[in-house]
Symmetry: C2
Subunit: 356 residues, 2 copies
Amino acid sequence: MITIKDIAKEANVSAGTVDRVLHNRGGVSTETEQKVNKILKERNFKINLIASSLAMKKNHTLATLIPNFDQQNIFWKSPHSGIEKGSQEVKAYGIENHIFTFNQFDPNSYAKAFRELIKTSPDAVILVPIFLKETKAIIETLKNKKIPYLFLNINLKGSDSLCYIGQKSFEAGILAGKLSNICTTEDDEILMVLTRKNLFNHEAIQDRIEGFLDFHQKSNSKTKIHKLQFNQPDEVFRSREKINQFIEKHPKVKGVVVPSSRVSVVCKAIDKEKLVDLRIIGFDTTPQNIDFLKRGDVTFLISQKSFNQGYKSIITIANFLVHKEIPSNEIPTPLEIITKENYMFSHSEERKYSIE
Amino acid sequence: MITIKDIAKEANVSAGTVDRVLHNRGGVSTETEQKVNKILKERNFKINLIASSLAMKKNHTLATLIPNFDQQNIFWKSPHSGIEKGSQEVKAYGIENHIFTFNQFDPNSYAKAFRELIKTSPDAVILVPIFLKETKAIIETLKNKKIPYLFLNINLKGSDSLCYIGQKSFEAGILAGKLSNICTTEDDEILMVLTRKNLFNHEAIQDRIEGFLDFHQKSNSKTKIHKLQFNQPDEVFRSREKINQFIEKHPKVKGVVVPSSRVSVVCKAIDKEKLVDLRIIGFDTTPQNIDFLKRGDVTFLISQKSFNQGYKSIITIANFLVHKEIPSNEIPTPLEIITKENYMFSHSEERKYSIE
DNA sequence: TAAGTAGGTGTGTACGCACACGAAATTTGA
DNA sequence: TCAAATTTCGTGTGCGTACACACCTACTTA
């Protein structure tokens, strides 16, 4: 391994000078700079990240603004875990992360959580920008204080965030379209179960719906697509005659697509004997969804690997702060197709981490 | 962040003593040890991996024995890249990896490459144990020299390798069964295209076939499964009348499964107008396979993420050497389902690395 | 012309933290 | 009381970073 000292010796300068050249910190004559650069290249010198990190230790503070989770709304648990894991890893780099949570249905709690967050004067912020209006104010504050921020899971185009880490929802919808197309024939019909004005990220869900329809349109399939709307996710179960009657009336419906993460609720609502004949496609690997996948009721789940999203957010921000590594504007999460046969090989990192 | 010094100060001992307690290196009185341990626990002390690595620098040597790749046999390129990436990352930890390649069809080149490898007296070895007899001799040598080794991509049960990193082939076959089942109806028939005594890991391919058949048997599907054998992968294309005639004779064949990584060859052999009606399932995301996926000829590819396998091998071995972290006996790679709609979101790390 | 100054260029070194070895201090046993 | 054994301490090491300071040249001013 070649060290700065080796380079310095060869160039007849001190280690400090090599360091200045490496970081373009100025104060080096063009002649010396060229000489050093030449040797750096010849020897293929790479900064030792370990030593660099140790030396750079500066105690950065991160802050994360993310919805809380409970039994009913477990979706946010995965990103939480990923963030936890990432935080653990970067601790050694002198980076401390604080999580501030809010109620995903309450804009006030969002604003309030941010007020708490900003008191800690973090060096960078990870945001799940659920509420548009409040987010604009938040971004304004961050901009004034020159605090870089990153969007997690939900994107807000037009703002100059450091980067967006999340799923491409439209493309996820296209994939759902493809899968529904594959697991039905042309004569079959497909039912899409919607929840009006969904809980939080209704934009993402809208994008999925559009992607789904886009696929069916572009592929010239003659498959008829029905839509069934509910006002509340729990209404699907409460008034389950609605969906069961619909299926009885439309015996050609063989595929069901649920663009939200609540496919488990839909499965619960549909009569068991009807489930057998249906191919059901949903999103997100919540424990409830996985349950119905295991039973064979759900055929495909499209996962956005939210654990990885959380994890990656921390790592990305950390690399930005410590190594000034500027991330690409958008880091799309893989669209993982999960079935009963492969779910146990997915999310192994998440499981491993949860057990510990 | 709590440092060893903090602990030492609080316990009224020196940093050295704390270090001895941390690593159970002995030479500490029971009393002091308990006192230090108590404070370690209270303060939830975690070793700073960065500083630890820097201090531990020991210059380990790794060696990797893996088949070479070329245009015809590009399968091994991905693990190569993953290994390269991993090697880069661990270089800072004073770990140097050397790759020794061999011809995957020639046992002698395998043995010869190993003889070269062992001359470098590595501290650990990554093996792709293609040839049984030669591998047994290799393992014997490694055991005598007490060099730990890890199997990559191909497993050899019964040997006491540190760990196996690769796909569960039987389960991959089951998944292929499920996918073929989903994208055909009960009246359809499925064709499996085999290559007799496949190139290298015919065991893995045999497992896939068995998994595939197992799924169809257990699911009580009445779908008829045909098998078509070729002696050489290139024979599929050379004598392509064989496969085309077969499809003409069996118009009910709607699904094609290729358990090797050569689904592209099969696609090339089948007449274009016939391809339209077929749902084709293959394994591994070689560039050729991806081409046919993009065109829409291949419906599903089951990926074993061989880039990640290579990468993980290095990281696992490195953690074992540096941090004495003993890996679990088997690290299965996710069974990724790749379609035209999601392939661009997969393997992003591999692509990112290849570009650089 | 000598003294003074500013700017550019380069050096030396403390620091971050854990690790490990030689040396010192203390205890034990004879 | 002395030697041996046990316990503990002090310090150099790994490598890059960044700051204080030293040095040199060129130019200004008395």
